[in-house]
């Protein structure tokens, strides 16, 4: 079926009247067929209140072609129902639950319709029968981690089903956004997920620059990439440390933990904060690197590379580690595609999607670290891919630091196009971060939509636990290391 959907570019604003409006039935078919036949993927389904109508937007990504496609449809407010997409397209599952929760839009025939953030948590999915037992964990966990509730349906040690209930971190960021002034918006974007400050700040800034139709200087683009890759490495290395302690291999846990700090300290010397806060703003970066600092960074990266290689070799050649990782929490390529997984968990299952390659922005247009892909989809693959990505990022940064251009890093960026929509995508360390902004007729933001990669990937963790053992949960969990805050917003 030929549907006239708009083709968007990452970070380029489009006037609202240019977005095709189609009837609901065609819209639904367009989404399902694009995903099933044309290798598309749901990036977002979102709604906006238009008085007596509810406008639904579908945003799809055809990754192979690097195309973002968008089309809208209307539902009447007095009859907010439609035949659910989920039975035909499981990756729509979470989005439909979100629409139901936020806008009261009822997807008829949705298999498990309940709010994802609201706080009324019952009922949980139950398996019944002799010797079946239920294990409930959280929201307050044993470690220093975020709150969430996990409900396991078990038979002995074997897990039949895991349901994850989030929402405890819900702060109402999306609703705060339109009311906030630009300086507040920037700090809100940086507080979506504390371990992805750079990723979200860049995504927000890129969206605003798109709305203002401004581009930033080459040096700012390069420095942003330095920060983003440092964030990626710090988190990957930190997670490898956590995985080591979860299997009781303490030497690697200590060394990885310390190495994570080295990357955070570099980020601090670049940005003034260990997590990269207040560095990226619409218009560029607020700080610059001196020549001496660049040389110092280069040397320290070189040293970290050597140390990382040592610890990584030690870790991945330890048979007791491999025995716990291999064939644990397997997500097949087919399942990953069905669930619409993004980021390194998708790449660990063999799916070749990376925003840096598919929809590159800024300095990634010129250079990017080569994509890493593995096929086994188990904890091993999700751990191994981290070390490979760290290695590639290190090489990429060392190369990039040598060739920084000299330019101003910041030019003010305000005055947004009115009645426009912009989509901004960034490959954060977890995967695809998406911010969507819509401006009103005076150029003020009237809708801001955030999709953290965790939003897609929590379902992956649930499925990875099927038929596994409860004792595999820490490994599966850390191999994904999803954000509660990024999901709950």
């Amino acid at each position: 079926m030929k549907i006239n959907s708009a083709i968007l570019k990452n970070g380029v604003a489009m006037a609202l009247h240019e977005i095709p409006e189609i009837d609901f039935i065609s819209w639904r078919r367009w989404i399902i067929e694009s995903c099933q036949l044309a290798k598309g993927r749901v990036i977002s389904l979102l709604a906006e209140d238009h008085g007596d109508r509810m406008r639904l937007y579908g945003l799809l990504g055809i990754d192979d072609r690097g195309e973002l496609r968008l089309a809208g449809t209307d539902l009447m407010k007095n009859d907010l129902r439609y035949p659910s997409l989920t039975p035909d397209l499981p990756e729509a599952h979470w989005f439909e639950r979100e629409l139901y929760e936020q806008h009261n839009i009822l997807p008829e025939g949705h298999p498990w319709l309940k709010p994802i953030r609201r706080g009324d948590y019952a009922p949980f999915y139950r398996v019944e029968g002799e010797e079946i037992h239920e294990v409930a964990v959280g929201p307050v966990h044993a470690g220093i981690i975020e709150p969430g509730h996990f409900r396991f349906q078990c038979h002995g040690e074997k897990v039949f089903h895991l349901e994850i209930q989030l929402g405890y971190q819900h702060r109402g960021i999306e609703t705060m956004f339109p009311k906030a002034n630009p300086s507040r918006q920037a700090v809100l974007a940086e507080s979506i997920a504390g371990d992805t400050v750079v990723g979200h700040a860049l995504c927000y800034a890129h969206a605003m620059e798109g709305l203002a139709d401004k581009s930033v200087s080459v040096r700012a683009k390069e420095l942003r990439v330095v920060a983003l890759e440092l964030e990626r490495m710090a988190n990957h290395v930190g997670d490898l440390g956590m995985l080591s302690s979860d299997v009781g291999f303490l030497p690697a846990s200590a060394y990885f933990g310390r190495l994570r700090g080295e990357f955070l300290n570099l980020l601090m010397e670049l940005t003034g904060n260990r997590y990269g806060r207040s560095f990226i703003r619409p218009g560029g970066t607020l700080l610059d690197l001196s020549k001496e600092k660049i040389l110092d960074f280069w040397k320290r990266l070189e040293k970290s590379e050597q140390e990382f290689r040592d610890v990584s070799d030690l870790f991945f050649s330890e048979t007791s580690v491999l025995a716990r990782f291999e064939q644990t929490g397997v997500i097949s390529a087919e399942l990953a595609r069905t669930l619409g997984l993004v980021g390194f968990p998708a790449r660990a299952s063999g799916i070749g999607h990376d925003v840096r390659s598919d929809y590159p922005i800024g300095a990634y247009r010129v250079h990017k670290p080569p994509m890493v892909r593995l096929t086994t989809g188990d904890v091993y693959a999700r751990a191994r891919i981290r070390s490979l990505e760290v290695k590639r990022s290190l090489e990429f940064l060392k190369e990039g630091l040598k060739a920084l251009t000299v330019e101003k890093t910041f030019l003010p960026c305000d005055r947004f196009k009115f009645s426009s929509l912009v989509v901004s995508l960034v490959e954060g360390w977890r995967g695809e971060i998406v911010h969507i902004a819509i401006t009103d007729s005076s150029g003020k933001i009237r809708l801001f939509k955030i999709i953290d990669p965790s939003f897609h990937n929590w379902q992956g963790l649930q499925m990875a636990m099927r038929d596994g053992q409860i004792s595999d949960f820490p490994l599966c969990n850390k191999s994904f290391n999803l954000s509660y805050a990024g999901h709950d917003l």
Binding site: V140, Q169, T175, P251, Y275
Partner: protein, 251 residues
């Protein structure tokens, strides 16, 4: 086996002395210092641009319980009245002391006698993340690594509130976490202490005003120690904890 030993040898000794020699390197943003004399007449630009309303003028004051150390104020100030130093010490015993004027700050004082005697040599804390972005929790976690090595000071994070002497609360306390946090607080045996880490737990931080949050730890429990920052550096947290236990020199 030999590989493990070889790696151990190469890693060497990494634990940092505390308090560290010298300050943190720039551009680290620590405690701000203000000089009202440099303010232009009737200028309120810093206060207007501050994302969390942390600044008041006449006289110029910054509330560290709200400050996110974002430097927007420094960027708009033409007279250079505000400057962020590299001083990482930012913990106080009462909210009032978080409001800075000039370049002095009254840092946290030790607990009163009874609790000090109990907790001085061994303190077990339970961390509860009650909303927020997870940034403060990451820095608390980092205190356990070999560089900061929290346990050498006799302070440990424990898994159960029943094993704890007190709570560390991060995040603005979301509506959805209120009950769980209140129950955790109740489960800690008396006498107990409560520590609020980060701008969110002190004032709600960037989320202040949202109808989904309760603007800080005080909404659930009385707070004994406020550790400012967004997120506070691990050294800031360590300094605050040791001051509470009377193990740092005053000042």
């Amino acid at each position: 086996m030999w590989d493990i030993l070889k790696n151990r040898w190469r890693q060497g000794y990494r634990t940092q002395t505390f308090p560290p020699r010298g300050s943190l390197p720039p551009p680290f943003r620590g405690r701000p210092a203000m000089d009202s004399r440099k303010c232009a007449d009737d200028c309120r630009r810093c206060a207007e641009v501050c994302p969390t309303d942390a600044i008041s003028t006449d006289p110029l004051r910054i509330d560290l319980g709200r400050c996110l150390f974002c430097q927007e104020c420094v960027r708009v100030c033409s007279g250079g009245a505000i400057a962020f130093s590299q001083d990482y010490r930012l913990a106080t015993r009462c909210e009032k002391d978080l409001v800075l004027e000039g370049d002095k700050m009254r840092l946290a004082q030790a607990l009163e006698k009874k609790r000090l005697r109990l907790f001085k040599c061994s303190l077990k804390l339970r961390v509860v993340c009650a909303g927020g972005c997870n940034g403060c929790d990451l820095e608390l976690q980092a205190l356990n690594n070999v560089v900061f090595d929290l346990s050498r000071f006799g302070i440990q994070f424990v898994a159960s509130p029943r094993h704890a002497d007190g709570l560390i609360i991060t995040g603005p306390v979301t509506v959805n976490m209120k009950l769980a946090l209140a129950k955790t607080y109740e489960a800690v045996p008396d006498p107990k202490i409560v520590i609020a880490v980060g701008a969110c737990a002190i004032s709600g931080g960037p989320f202040e005003g949202s109808d989904k949050v309760l603007n800080g730890a005080h909404s659930v429990a009385p707070v004994d120690l406020f550790i400012a920052g967004c997120p506070p550096h691990p050294l800031t947290i360590l300094d605050g904890l040791l001051r509470l236990l009377g193990r740092m020199k005053e000042g």
